[in-house]
Symmetry: C2
Subunit: 420 residues, 2 copies
């Protein structure tokens, strides 16, 4: 029996129970808010085991009150290949329906086409990889690729989600004329199929007030409905027959996942959170994660220094920027210590991290005897997606309703896919 | 012939020519400043190939004006194993003399002892791994381990560098009474040998003024000399015979490497920079790296978005926080574009990064035609140690005196060691 305390450090620890509970809570919340479909992102955990839990295929019996899991989103080719592998194995949704979630580029087409063939062949045409488009040039190179690679046996069209910018101002074409023209271009293409619209409610990461969060998601939905209406009129005026209400509308983000209420009755709406499986310190701030008990991903670290002089009054642990990353959050600091709100991580280098007591002048005596040299602590990373990506393997514990501690037993090992 | 432009992105690119020049410049500067010995850190590159270039074993003929490379520093067990492997193969310095550079903890002793046996056996007792101590408890568990694991055939003592805090206030015991007592404890131990003192001039990372940098290194040297004098007196007063001037004095950091002048004639002084092999945006700020031509490590990224609306006026590239990390620097921003001081990376997510023109109001038109969708750019990371650690392999180019560009040819592949 291997306890966390016995592991080489740093190590990434997954609480399977929290992961499962978080997945169920997301499905329940979506259903309650009038959103019957969930399309989880796999970028946070990048594992086969995580996909299976997100899919919820082992939780029969309570399906009525939970949103259906109808597909996945992936943001690297290895993540996509992982879901496709599951699709070929299970031959059923959600594994057979996956969006490659960053704007498509030419150099990735050959890989995606090869995976697409594999998936459609294993599922007798049921499975599908969708690509994201937010620029007319992407339509051009998708068409050119299709023309060059289409044969009699292989007449597959590219299934496209159009990415819209609804206020986050990162990826996505504007909802104005440019967006409508691009949607029309896709609809009119003989090599492309417009499958849906995709928005990322990323501005929600800076919102802590639930009223403001609600307002933000409402704006997102309003802009999408406005876009659908403009598109419908535009197509009608040019006599192009296309059922706009058939489009899948993929919205969301983890901070906003509990605030997406389908009051505006958007047809075929689906929610695509990702970080919710682990949560992290940022999500404790936004309120998407309500307590440390829901945290599903930690960095285990060992105490390797005691410094009780006037300049420090602190301990040092062996997890630094290569294990936790340097994402900042509104709370300040780079991570926190599970169960110890009285402590703060105040300084981080490549392989180490300094922890002291919170106090106005930094002079509160550190309880060194509670943290002996060689003992371990569980750190809550600021951004679990980035911290998890630092590791080649995860050590999995499953404490049920008991809290995870450094005495928890390792019950499984998960291996995330790596690279791009 | 594979060009950078043809590679899957993101990719980590090493300019071997810059790497070699940086290694030579470090040795030349140390020698010029009266420091005849260099002990490079391997944490930045983590590769066999990088160690061999740092060692300078292929640059015979100019040795007189260059500092000797006498050993290495490693900060993870895989890095240590890599150097030990080279030590067993080459059976000569610098590969046979290596410091494990973070404070020693009990759970790593078995691995280090095993590597130590391997090295001493391959080198007939010449090779040595040194551990870092900054706490009396570490002496206790090193002694206990030695007592439990010493046999007639195996009477090796732990070779110890005492880590001193000379102002950075991270690891290291104070130079006051506590430090002197710990040094004495090590000297008096039958299982330990005090090999040297180790300081990290880490506060230099925040210094841009060369006068202040010089002052900082002078303070570092003064404190070490003061410590040596106090220790000498202390040992004399207790009638303990020990030649304090035989200790190796390991100092430095990349920002301060050109400012360590041995005016105070510290005996057996050695310099241990690490980041200097690649440099990065932080080092362009400190001035340790004087121009982009000296940058040896880049992240190659592909343009996947063009956004010419009022909110953005920017491009998107496919290298985000999992490829560049979110280290901040005094210049602001997360990275820069090689050869394009007019551009700034203003926003980074997990897998993407937004780039626009620098301008007071952000409204300067972006030259989209110079950055077509699908083309590539070379990004200079803020902190190359952290960015390199994101990758499983490096693509190496060697342009000689020519600048690296996205049309440079890949001539080698290097595989860094991973994990801890």
């Amino acid at each position: 029996m291997m306890l966390l305390d016995d592991l080489p450090t740093p190590a990434f620890i997954v609480d399977k129970h929290a992961f499962q509970q978080n997945c169920k809570a997301a499905r329940a919340a979506a259903a309650k808010n009038g959103i019957p479909r969930l399309r989880p992102h796999v970028k946070t955990h990048k594992t086969i085991e995580g996909c299976i839990i997100q899919a919820g295929i082992h939780s029969a019996g309570e399906e009525e009150s939970l949103a259906d899991v109808i597909g996945f989103v992936a943001s690297t080719l290895p993540e996509l290949a992982m879901v496709v592998k599951l699709g070929c194995q299970y031959k059923r949704k959600p594994f057979t329906d996956v969006i490659f979630g960053i704007p498509i580029c030419k150099s990735k087409l050959l890989s995606i086409q090869s995976m697409s063939h594999e998936l459609t062949s294993a599922t007798h045409g049921e499975g599908c990889i969708h690509v994201i488009v937010d620029n007319p040039q992407q339509v051009t190179f998708l068409e050119e690729f299709a023309q060059q690679n289409t044969s009699d046996e292989n007449t597959q069209r590219w299934s496209v989600f159009l990415k819209l910018d609804t206020g986050y101002h990162r990826a996505g074409i504007t909802c104005e004329k440019a967006g409508v023209n691009l949607a029309t271009q896709i609809i009119n293409s003989t090599h492309l199929v417009l499958k849906g619209l995709y928005t990322h409610c990323g501005h929600s990461y800076n919102i802590q007030d639930s009223g403001v969060m609600k307002e933000t998601t409402n704006q997102d939905h309003s802009m999408i409905l406005g876009f659908l209406n403009t598109l419908r009129s535009h197509l009608k005026s040019s006599n192009r027959k296309f059922d706009v209400s058939s489009l899948s509308i993929s919205v969301g983000s983890t901070p906003s996942m509990f605030s997406h209420d389908n009051a505006l009755k958007i047809p075929n709406i689906e929610l695509h959170p990702g970080n919710y499986v682990f949560y992290d310190r940022q999500q404790l701030w936004t309120g998407a994660c309500s307590s440390e008990k829901s945290i599903g991903g930690f960095v285990l670290s060992r105490i390797i220094g005691h410094y009780d002089d006037e300049h420090r009054n602190a301990i040092m642990v062996d997890a630094g920027a290569t294990a936790l990353t340097k994402e900042s959050t509104p709370q300040g600091s780079m991570c926190s210590v599970l169960g110890r709100p009285d402590l703060e991580c105040y300084r981080m280098s490549q392989e180490i991290n300094m922890i002291r007591c919170k106090s106005e002048d930094g002079a509160k005596p550190f309880p060194f005897q509670e943290f002996p040299l060689g003992s371990t602590v569980l750190l809550i990373p600021n951004h679990s997606c980035l911290a998890a990506a630092c590791f080649e393997e995860y050590h999995v514990v499953d404490g049920g309703d008991n809290s995870v501690s450094t005495k928890s037993e390792v019950v499984e090992m998960w291996s995330p896919v790596k690279g791009w």
